[in-house]
């Protein structure tokens, strides 16, 4: 807890909390990153499971997963900056911890899928997605959406913004 208190007391954290350029900008960027990660994870899950989205080959799936991973990096950085402004409060919020759990599991699947699908021969137009990859892509897409809802509910189910 003393680390979190220390982080909250840093000049950076103080500025992030007070400045209109701090917290609102971070949370707005966090929303854009969210849309990129969650949206692309859905499209990739639909593609891997052959649901409607069919005209996308293996190389493109790998590209989309890379873009999703960059969206995640943006949200990791902005999320961390948001966290240090109120670390001690966030860490005791149940709904925030549920969101973190959902994000961690989904992100692990995202990076795992990216490794798994990337080595496909670059000249090949085929996509080798085994049953595990297909199933996990659906799990990740579902958990990402759950994380979005949990994130929104932080405003209602915790005392952070009251």
């Amino acid at each position: 807890m003393s680390l979190l208190a220390y982080l909250e007391a840093t000049a950076l954290s103080q500025w992030l909390s007070i400045s209109m350029l701090g917290f609102p900008t971070l949370i707005a960027l966090h929303s854009v990153g969210m849309a990129v990660v969650v949206g692309l994870s859905l499209i990739v899950a639909l593609r891997l499971n052959g649901v409607v989205v069919t005209g996308i080959d293996g190389q493109l799936v790998a590209k989309l997963l890379t873009i999703a991973a960059w969206g995640f990096v943006l949200n990791f950085v902005t999320g961390l900056a948001l966290f240090i402004t109120r670390g001690a409060d966030y860490i005791t919020s149940g709904i925030f911890l549920i969101k973190m759990l959902l994000v961690i599991v989904s992100a692990i699947i995202l990076f795992w899928l990216r490794e798994r699908l990337e080595p496909v021969d670059s000249t090949s137009r085929a996509l080798v997605a085994d049953r595990l990859a297909r199933n996990l892509s659906l799990v990740a897409a579902t958990l990402w959406f759950a994380a979005v809802v949990a994130g929104r509910l932080i405003a209602y189910l915790s005392d952070l913004y009251r």
Binding site: G39, L40, V52, T54, I56, W144, V148, V149
Partner: protein, 157 residues
């Protein structure tokens, strides 16, 4: 618009429904957020195609992605309307909300151009300045819409 108009809009029976229960507003927000992810994800795949990052997906997939984006937009228009009727004065005279509406209007016009560029690209497999422009514009406008949307709460009068 005159204050009377806003007063009337702010006091429809919808307001009671949206605001009185502690569950309705958070549920609508959750739907609005989930749906914006669907909108962004599907448009992103098509926009990057227009920009020329890759040469796929083929025509039927593009048509599906655009239908998906339109459906997601319809959901967000509906939930957005409920927010406006439920808490009108949060949005009236709100700079972030006004800019968001302007960006959506421009994105709508862009989408009309979009339709032409898209069929051109999918059929000819060639990039043009206009298609690249339309793709970038779409990406930037919708990102701006999300940013302004998230800023509304900080600019509420």
């Amino acid at each position: 618009m005159s204050p009377d108009v806003w007063a009337w809009i702010a006091n429809t029976p919808v307001r009671t429904w949206v605001v009185d229960s502690p569950y309705v507003w958070p549920t609508l927000e959750s739907i609005h957020f989930a749906s914006l992810c669907v909108l962004m994800g599907s448009l992103l795949v098509v926009d990057l195609r227009l920009i020329g990052l890759y040469r796929q997906p083929c025509a039927p997939t593009v048509r599906f992605l655009i239908r998906l984006a339109v459906a997601a937009f319809a959901i967000n228009l509906a939930t957005g309307l409920l927010f406006f009727l439920g808490n009108t004065y949060k949005y009236v005279d709100n700079a972030a909300f006004e800019l968001k509406l302007v960006l959506i209007a421009i994105a709508g016009l862009n989408a009309l151009l979009y339709k032409r560029s898209l069929s051109h690209i999918v059929e000819s497999d060639e990039l043009s300045w206009s298609s690249v422009g339309v793709g970038w514009l779409s990406l930037l406008l919708w990102s701006g819409v999300i940013v302004c949307g998230r800023m509304i709460t900080f600019y509420a009068p």
